[in-house]
């Protein structure tokens, strides 16, 4: 896919948000990835032109960060945390099951446009083992539930993130990372039982912080 004039306008908008335009490079690379499903030479050049830097300088940045892909993720990005905690609590088995189901290994894309990735800690260790679909949370998965998610996505069925919105696509998430006001913040599953675990114990046992002084 080629970048349109709309994308070039959006790139300019991102650059204008910062005191120094180059600060926008990471969001700009997310934006070109949201159009092409990967960061291509054309995408890098478009970013470089807007910022007045060389394509080599922009490439050096694009190749440093693991979220920028060099194979097109046509449909969905599937991440499985296999860092120590998630991996040992079952993430390793989840990864194996998904690899068998998708027919690909780490950082590879299958014929249906699904990329599988062993991801590092996703900051959701309380919800281990953690999987992500297009970077939205799929908490507390098992090999069976993880494969069921991929099966449902393959059939084009609606899949709900555990904390977050209905799954869209890899490129839709990439656009959110460039322009985060996507209208999906409301998701009423955002705060779950594990995030409320301590608050509920405190409420049951009548525990609270010291009261607020009146003079304040």
């Amino acid at each position: 896919m080629t970048l349109t004039s709309t994308t070039r306008v959006e790139l300019q908008q991102l650059a204008a948000q910062y005191p120094q335009p180059r600060s926008a490079l990471l969001p700009m690379l997310h934006l070109v990835q949201s159009v092409e499903g990967e960061v291509t030479a054309e995408g890098i050049t478009a970013c470089a032109e807007v910022l007045g830097i060389t394509a080599a300088e922009a490439t050096a940045v694009a190749t440093f960060y693991t979220m920028y892909k060099r194979d097109a993720v046509a449909k969905h990005h599937i991440g499985v945390c296999t860092n120590t905690l998630c991996g040992l609590l079952g993430g390793d088995a989840v990864y194996d099951a998904l690899s068998a189901r998708l027919g690909v290994g780490h950082n590879q894309v299958n014929a249906d446009g699904f990329m599988l990735e062993r991801i590092e800690c996703q900051a959701a260790c309380t919800h281990a083992p953690v999987m992500t679909v297009d970077w939205e949370f799929m908490d507390d998965v098992t090999p069976g539930t993880a494969v069921a998610v991929v099966d449902a996505l393959s059939r084009g069925e609606q899949v709900q993130a555990t904390r977050g919105p209905v799954i869209r696509s890899f490129v839709a998430t990439e656009h959110t990372l460039a322009f985060p006001l996507d209208g999906l913040a409301a998701a009423d599953n955002s705060v779950d039982d594990k995030m409320l675990a301590g608050l509920r114990v405190a409420q049951e046992r009548n525990m609270s912080a010291p009261s607020i002084p009146q003079e304040h």
Partner: protein
Amino acid sequence: MALTPVITEFWDDPSLYTLDGYKSHGGYVALADALKQDPDSIIATVKDSGLRGRGGAGFPTGLKWSFVPQNDGKEHYLVVNADESEPGACKDIPIMIANPHALVEGVIITSYAIRASHAFIYIRGEVPHAIRRVALAVEQARAAGLIGNDILGSGFDLNIVVHAGAGAYICGEETALLDSLEGYRGQPRLKPPFPAVAGLYASPTVINNVETIANIPYIVGRGVDWFRQFGTEKSPGFKVFAVSGHVKRPGIYEAPLGITMRELLDYAGGMRDGRPVKFWLPGGSSVPMLTAEHLDIPLTYEDMAAAGTMLGTGTPMMFDDTVSVVKAVTRWLEFYKHESCGKCTPCREGTYWITGVLEKFEHGHGSSEEVETLVTLCNQISGRSFCALGDAAATPYPAALKYFRDEFDAAITTSADEQFNPSASYVFAEAVSR
């Protein structure tokens, strides 16, 4: 010690993430109060509160703010480090999802105190739901006149940009974060100069963790005496603990600093199936592990240091006796190897070699000589890199060896999976074909 929900107090209100929801629980009252004060008096309040950075290092927040030179005619910046990526750390993302306005209010008050007219919230890219919630909070605050020009008639102007990262643990290191925010590869800078003098765009910059900044509205709104009722002299205040691993009810538990792991574990329902604690880490994979002997030590910066570890991010990972410590340590080193930015040779090469040797042990092909080789390798990395990633990579193995040497000795001939059936550590009962 009782639980004390403060930042988490109203998380069961589903509207808390909105401006109206946050205001219905007293939100933005502290901001109005702060804007009537002299900025220096806010810095003094935060200094007197004794608040220490919640990102891992525990540096006194008010002191950090006071290092920013005032009346220097330069632009000042506030950068929030929301790059939570430390293995085991999972408290900033929940704060941003459940209570984003506490962070935004803290950003406005802090910017006013340090005289910054631009603030950036650098959130790791892999958490779109946290990013959209913080971005919405900023937008709603802007629409309500709490961000922008002449905030609440005070004459104070502020712009806040929510910035998504792109996958690099190293960007949680504050100077690497600055390089990344300037649009470069995220690699650490030599210090000095410190960011307070030459940070973002070579201007004076304060970089604080999400939870640190989310504390500010409560401290400024309720006062130093209220805040110091929590915790100890050297570790005042409360902490959003995130307890994970083989516990019955993993989750977020907010309590005063000084609570013990045994108490937190009790609130979390104890270990699953009544199994014993084998080892645990108080705050991320970069702090040395502890064992069941250490459950009664208060979770404070000073007590954890005395026990030979660190409070770190305050997010305990609990492992029971089904877990192979050899496998756990190998996996952490694979992570540090993957995340080393490559700038410093000891870290770049050292993580590669340690990981290679550890993988031999994991597969039951170690040697008694290499048990010591690994110690030497760790010593050659520690203190020899620009940033703390190298030190962190040199941490898990010596700590594990101290408590579990017999497991490394056994791994000379017996693989980790033969010593410990992997499926016994899984938290689901589902049968797994291997």
